[in-house]
């Protein structure tokens, strides 16, 4: 009797393991959904049943696709997974994965070539391009979570790309490990509360004018926000942190007119703000007001031809170099104070006798080492070392060695301005640091006890006696 049961068990085993590997997942071709769309009324909301739908879906009718946990569109590594060709389509609460990866044809998780699409609360995985809008005006991309294919940065696609799509709203998306979130020729966009990290450029504007960027979080990219040839853009309350690498800018401006940068936090980037010939037209300006520019290797870096920018009420705190020129020259064609309000510079060595909050002597940074760095970038190897201090000391002692000041702030602030920053991730390392302190102290005490306790002394005394 025992053998037949065993035999039956062995026969059942492969079937059992097969069932365990993919529990209750129905794999079916995506044509099932295509048929549902065909048979629905225009404007209907389709509540999709859970399941994995394989293949490429093209939506040609105005419809609302509402997924739920377990609704997965799988492109099987080929082509664009969902392509929207009709106006007023909504794709919501779906997981979309495995687009093609050959850059020819730019395969995406979702591509929209129609107006007024809403792409909302989807999870996109393993895609070359995440969401690609081409001539899709007045669309909304909200609350999506996008991770791209695991490739070297140069070969990746864009997490979100808009091409000739005016008036879009891009809100509360999270993009991780993509190339850029990029906007080509798209105007009047509202880009609010997005997070881009571990990508190349967080937010990248090309010839896209008149947009508002607010409360975005750009972390550990190569560049946080790079505006190129784009005019009339406002950046308000964004955070750019730890954007590093050979370019490594919190904000980069390339030939942009009438830019307003207010109340942003630029922390621990290689360069806080990089200005390359912005503004470029006559009669246009750039305004930097009330930003926190702190802990960067260089706070403000600008090409020598940069002019007509106004810096007022910013806090330049503990940047390795507060301001530097890219190449040689000085930033004197820009204003570092407006209506008697300059900026706070943490290395300001002046005083404020009348206590009106404005320093009584101008801030004029003259760093010989900084001047040397501008000429010989390789010398940056020697920062954070005594030799750098020695050079600065020498230039203070011998005034004929002092370079011209990089800039002049005639009304530096005596105390840092209050800048409201919603900084998350304020870690709680205090307790652990306390433990570390205790560890170090007890190590010292232990060393003293071990090295000079009684046995040693007794041995010496016995030795003396004998």
């Amino acid at each position: 009797m025992r053998f037949p049961i065993l035999h039956a068990l062995i026969c059942l085993l492969p079937a059992a393991t097969e069932a365990m590997a993919e529990p209750q997942v129905q794999r079916q071709p995506v044509t099932v959904i295509a048929q549902m769309i065909e048979s629905a009324e225009l404007g209907d909301e389709l509540l999709l049943p859970a399941g994995v739908y394989e293949g490429n879906l093209v939506i040609r009718r105005s419809i609302i696709l509402n997924g739920r946990a377990g609704v997965v569109f799988d492109g099987l590594g080929d082509g664009t997974v969902i392509e929207v060709l009709a106006d007023d389509v909504t794709v919501r609460n779906c997981t979309i994965r495995a687009s093609g990866e050959n850059v020819t044809g730019e395969p995406s998780a979702i591509r929209v070539i129609a107006a007024k699409a809403t792409i909302e609360s989807n999870t996109i995985e393993d895609a070359l391009f995440g969401i690609d809008l081409r001539q899709a005006p007045d669309s909304v991309i909200r609350g999506n979570h996008i991770t791209c294919k695991d490739m070297e940065p140069g070969r990746r696609g864009d997490g979100i790309r808009l091409w000739w799509s005016h008036g879009g709203t891009i809100e509360d998306n999270v993009v991780i490990g993509s190339r850029d979130m990029v906007f080509w020729y798209s105007e009047d966009l509202h880009i609010v509360g997005n997070t881009v990290r571990d990508s190349r450029y967080g937010l990248h504007f090309m010839y896209s004018h008149g947009s508002v960027l607010e409360a975005n979080d750009l972390l550990s990219n190569s560049v946080g926000v790079y505006l190129m040839y784009s005019n009339g853009i406002t950046l308000r309350g964004n955070r750019m942190r730890n954007n590093r690498g050979a370019s490594g800018y919190g904000i980069g401006l390339k030939d942009c007119d009438d830019i307003t940068i207010v109340g942003n936090a630029l922390l621990a980037n290689r360069v806080g703000v990089y200005v390359d010939n912005s503004p470029s037209s006559i009669d246009s300006t750039g305004l930097f007001e009330g930003n926190m520019i702190a802990f960067n290797e260089i706070g403000l870096l600008a090409t020598p031809n940069t002019h007509d920018n106004v810096f007022t009420g910013n806090a330049f705190i503990e940047n390795e170099e507060p301001a530097a020129t890219h190449g040689r020259g000085r930033l004197v064609s820009n204003s570092f104070a407006q209506e008697g309000v300059g900026n706070y510079w943490s290395d300001y060595a002046g005083f404020d006798l009348d206590a009106d909050g404005i320093g009584d002597v101008a801030y004029e940074p003259k760093s010989l080492f900084g001047e040397m760095l501008a000429r010989e970038p390789n010398l940056r190897l020697f920062v954070h070392g005594p030799a750098q201090q020695a050079i600065e000391f020498t230039s203070r002692a011998l005034p004929e060695l002092r370079p011209e000041p990089t800039l002049v702030d005639p009304a530096p602030l005596a105390v840092p301005p209050k800048i409201e920053l919603a900084l998350g991730e304020s870690g709680r390392g205090g307790g652990r640091m306390g433990m570390l302190a205790a560890g170090f102290m007890s190590a010292a005490v232990a060393l003293i006890l071990v090295m000079s306790t009684q046995p040693g002394l007794r041995a010496v005394r016995e030795g003396d006696r004998s």
């Binding site: 050979a246 940056r380 870690g427 390392g429 010292a444 003293i448």
Partner: protein
């Protein structure tokens, strides 16, 4: 005076392994006790602690009000301080050790004990090393108290690694100091040579490398190679790699090093420090082993 007399033995220098280690151990304890009771130790410890606490405090005070604590800035400040003070401590301590005994005439007395010269040298080295590490522990410990009190989100791991690398730097400089001590006849000479070495490593070599990189238009790999030969630069780069996972803070040369060496970079830098510990100490043992060195 010496604890060696507790183990009565014939006057052969060659003893068992336990006896060998025991000899070193006794010398180490004697050296440690002498060191921590000496003025230089107390002075350096107080100076280092006060400066370290000051740097930690100052680098945080401008920041606390903004709710963003950057350990990077504290570390940058501490780096400068460590690179100035710690080599000075270790070099002068090492330089005074053998030369001091020699000048006082106690070296002959010690060598008359049934221990080898290697044991004496290693014992002294370990004793001084323990004293230096103890001093650093106190300095870093008090700074950690300040950081724990003032700052949130401080990189505990980075701080522990900073302490470890500092200890390695101290050990290598002590090793160099002992080599100077072995080859110097008098304490004054040893201290002078020690100070000159300090000046060379801290300022002259960096300034020289800066000048040569400009004059000879050195390529990045040459600048990096030459810089990594200096234990102080190795220390600095190791600390920065450890905190940032990359050297791009140090410009093109640093970016080059991170890109080409990748994960091997911290090990390479640590081994430069280790080489600076083992080589001078080995050479010191070799030279001290010769009869004429008394």
């Amino acid at each position: 005076m010496s604890a060696m007399t507790t183990t009565p033995r014939t006057v052969t220098v060659r003893t068992s392994a336990a006896g060998f280690v025991g000899g070193i151990w006794h010398f180490a304890r004697r050296e440690f006790r002498d060191a921590i009771a000496s003025k230089w130790f107390i002075l350096y410890t107080i100076a280092f602690t006060v400066l370290a606490v000051g740097v930690s405090f100052l680098s945080l005070s401008g920041v606390g009000s903004h709710g963003f604590a950057g350990f990077g800035r504290t570390a940058a400040g501490l780096l400068n301080l460590i690179m100035l003070v710690v080599p000075l401590m270790a070099l002068t301590a090492g330089a005074g050790s053998i030369a001091g005994e020699r000048e006082r005439g106690t070296l002959l007395y010690l060598l008359a004990q049934p221990v080898s010269r290697t044991q004496l040298l290693l014992g002294k080295y370990l004793g001084l090393a323990a004293a230096l590490v103890c001093s650093l522990c106190i300095g870093f410990g008090v700074s950690a108290v300040v950081l724990a009190w003032r700052a949130d989100g401080v990189g505990t791991g980075s701080f522990a690694m900073l302490m470890s690398f500092t200890a390695m730097l101290a050990l290598s400089m002590l090793s160099l100091g002992m080599l100077i001590s072995v080859i110097s006849r008098r304490t004054g000479v040893a201290t002078g040579v020690g100070l000159f070495t300090w000046l060379t490593l801290v300022f002259v070599s960096d300034l020289g490398l800066m000048a040569s990189s400009i004059i000879f238009k050195l390529r990045v790999q040459e600048i990096f190679g030459l810089a990594a030969l200096n234990p102080l630069q190795s220390f600095k780069m190791a600390v920065i790699v450890n905190m940032n996972a990359s050297l791009d803070v140090l410009g093109p040369v640093g970016a080059y090093a991170s890109q080409t060496l990748g994960g091997a970079l911290p090990w390479l830098l640590a081994s430069s420090l280790l080489a600076w510990t083992l080589a001078p100490l080995g050479l010191a043992m070799l030279l001290f082993g010769r009869r004429s060195s008394v």
